[in-house]
């Protein structure tokens, strides 16, 4: 039998029992679309978080004071408090060849005012390298000037939102503003890069780290952000940081170094697991659709006893009968899957319209997955009815009317 004729014959058979066919197609479509949709949503979420993390910078390492429990090793005796991270620690890190840039960070919040207008804002003390490390962009003016870390200066860079709140429509560049009781000249305005992971660079004021130390009256750093010289150097950079700080902290490992790629990998894993779980749950609806297909085919086999007997009388061997009925269930499931794919596609388009910032899209492999799922479901649940049909005794099948 020619392939075209098999498909044509099976198509005629499925369209002959319209009501059941439509119901089955619907079930299949819902099953496939929910699997595709949920997996794609999970995947979009994963990509969103990863992108956000990646946009923080490349090859980043973050040095935090205090040892995290997960690093292991014996617990410190007598519960000693960790040593502070100092500016000199940060400067010392630049010696390593595995490290390209270092930016110390002090963070705090302080009232920021222009004339009568006052706002409580996040104030970051850092250095010129922060611009490159954090992939920040300037809208106007310059970033903090390079130079000695322990030499401050009464200059500041403000975020785009802060600029709007403090200066309205007026020019901010070159103007003075007040942080606490000190005056700073605005030398730059950051470009609006949006929110990344809740850290809104639009609302910060960045000042030289030494000035921040005296403003907040503390020497200890909030953290040090380090950029490794390249991707392969991340591991070496981490080791270098640990050994340099250990040497400076009298042999104590009292810091924690987090690498960006480790965080990325962790999030990647979590999201993949989540996606698979959700997809697996959705797959249950596919099983329901599969059982519907099996049912409709079993009904078809028992309704079409005499037709099957006839096909055998006309010279169809068992394998051919099997093939015809499998084709029927495969057609049902593939058509259902195609509809399901369209359904998922339009639903995703709709969602993406409502949530443009998340870059929602169907996973690129979802058409492949849809057809795979469909064929799998159709064939697995089609085998039993097809076998039953192929094993009918022709004389018996024909004698029943």
């Amino acid at each position: 039998m020619q392939a075209r004729d098999i498909v044509f014959f099976s198509m005629q058979a499925t369209t002959a029992s319209r009501g059941r066919t439509i119901l089955t197609l619907l079930a299949m479509a819902i099953g496939v679309s929910s699997v595709i949709l949920l997996i794609s949503l999970g995947d979009s979420g994963r990509r969103y978080v990863i992108d956000q993390f990646a946009s923080l910078g490349t090859n980043l390492l973050i040095v935090i004071p205090g040892r995290s429990e997960t690093i292991g090793g014996p617990p410190p005796l007598l519960g000693e408090t960790p040593r502070d991270l100092t500016l000199d620690d940060a400067i010392a890190l630049t010696q390593s060849t595995a490290i390209r840039r270092v930016a110390p960070i002090i963070a705090g919040s302080a009232p920021v005012s222009v004339k009568q207008l006052e706002r409580e804002m996040v104030v970051l003390g850092s250095s010129s390298d922060l611009l490159e490390i954090r992939h920040l962009e300037m809208n106007q003016g310059r970033f903090l000037p390079p130079g000695d870390l322990d030499r401050g200066g009464n200059v500041c860079v403000i975020g785009s939102k802060g600029r709007k709140e403090l200066f309205g429509n007026q020019q901010a560049l070159g103007k003075w503003l007040r942080i606490g009781d000190r005056r700073f000249r605005v030398i730059g305005v950051l470009a609006d890069t949006g929110v990344s992971l809740g850290e809104d660079m639009g609302e910060v004021v960045i000042i030289p780290v030494a000035t921040a130390q005296s403003l907040f009256n503390k020497v200890s750093l909030f953290r040090i952000v380090v950029e490794a010289s390249n991707e392969d150097a991340i591991g070496r950079a981490k080791k270098a940081i640990l050994s340099i700080i250990r040497a400076r902290h009298e042999g104590e490992d009292d810091i924690t170094v987090i690498t960006q790629d480790a965080i990325l990998a962790t999030f990647d894993k979590i999201f993949r697991a989540l996606t698979l779980t959700v997809g697996g749950i959705a797959a249950i609806s596919l099983v329901v659709a599969g059982i519907m297909i099996m049912n409709i085919m079993l009904v078809a086999v028992s309704n079409r006893h005499s037709e099957i007997g006839l096909l055998k009388a006309l010279g169809a061997p068992r394998t051919q009968i099997m093939g015809l009925f499998l084709t029927e269930s495969a057609l049902l499931s593939i058509t259902g899957a195609f509809l399901g794919f369209l359904l998922a596609y339009s639903a995703m388009k709709l969602l993406a319209g409502f949530l443009p910032e998340y870059n929602l899209a169907l996973a690129p492999w979802s058409p492949v997955m849809a057809s795979g799922l469909a064929l799998g479901t159709g064939i697995i649940f089609g085998v039993l009815p097809a076998r039953r049909a192929s094993l009918l005794e022709p004389a018996l099948a024909l004698s029943r009317r």
Binding site: M1, Q2, D5, F9, Q12, A13, A16, S306, E307, G309, L310, L311, K312, A313, L314, G315, A316, P317, R318, T319, Q320, E393, P394, A395, L398, S399, R401
Partner: protein, 226 residues
């Protein structure tokens, strides 16, 4: 050439064994016209089903055109059905969703014959059976006589050597029944072996050889009695 030897067929109905065929010996040569008669339940259909390879005997051997069919596997048996045997049923067994043309085309489709070739042969056959104007009608749009003619067209499209007809007129009025038998006899005159089960003595008389079955046995055969 047909040769049955010691054919047994036993059905299990509940606990009870029903002997549909008991030690049946039967042979026929090519081109014969045979009527099988006998009371209801005497095993006529069972015999025909075994001749048509729609049923397997529980004992005995069946040779068709020098092929020992009883030892063939499913695929080879199907192949013999496809090429050597045409079946005509009391209840027509047309596929209701297919047109007359598609029903007749079915054996060719199953055999993988090309579309253009199929079309030609089907139209020729339907023409010659006098239903060339009913090509696109479905079975429910045809009269009983027309349905049986479509069924006979389907049974002959593969040019079989034997036609097995199980009460082909059982569901027809006398006039269309006679037409159908005329067609079958015409096919027989072209050299096809015709074996027909019938209740109707008048139709039975038309056959050159008559076999009478009683209780699963061949009780009379005009070929051996005379």
């Amino acid at each position: 050439m047909i040769k049955l030897q010691h054919i047994e067929r036993v059905f299990l109905v509940g606990e009870e064994e029903v002997h549909a065929l008991r030690d049946v010996d039967f042979s026929a040569s090519g081109g014969e016209y045979i009527a099988i008669m006998g009371p209801s339940g005497s095993g006529k259909s069972t015999l025909l089903n075994i001749l048509g390879l729609l049923d397997r005997p529980d004992g005995g051997t069946y040779e068709l055109d020098n092929i020992m069919t009883t030892s063939l596997d499913d695929k080879k048996q199907a192949n013999v059905r496809r090429h050597k045997i045409g079946f005509v049923f009391q209840f027509f067994h047309l596929v209701p969703r297919l047109t007359a043309e598609q029903n007749v085309e079915l054996p060719l489709v199953l055999a993988g014959v090309d579309k253009t070739e199929r079309k030609k042969r089907v139209l020729e056959t339907l023409e010659s059976f006098g239903i060339g104007d009913r090509v696109h009608h479905r079975p429910d749009q045809l009269s009983g006589g027309q349905r049986q003619r479509v069924a006979i067209a389907r049974a002959t499209i593969m040019k079989p050597t034997v036609i097995l007809a199980d009460e082909p007129t059982g569901n027809l009025d006398r006039a269309s029944g006679n037409d159908v038998v005329d067609i079958l006899e015409e096919l027989n005159s072209q050299g096809i072996t015709l074996i027909m089960v019938t209740h109707d003595p008048e139709l039975g008389e038309r056959a050159k050889r008559r076999i009478k079955m009683v209780d699963g046995r061949i009780e009379g055969d005009t070929a051996t009695q005379s």
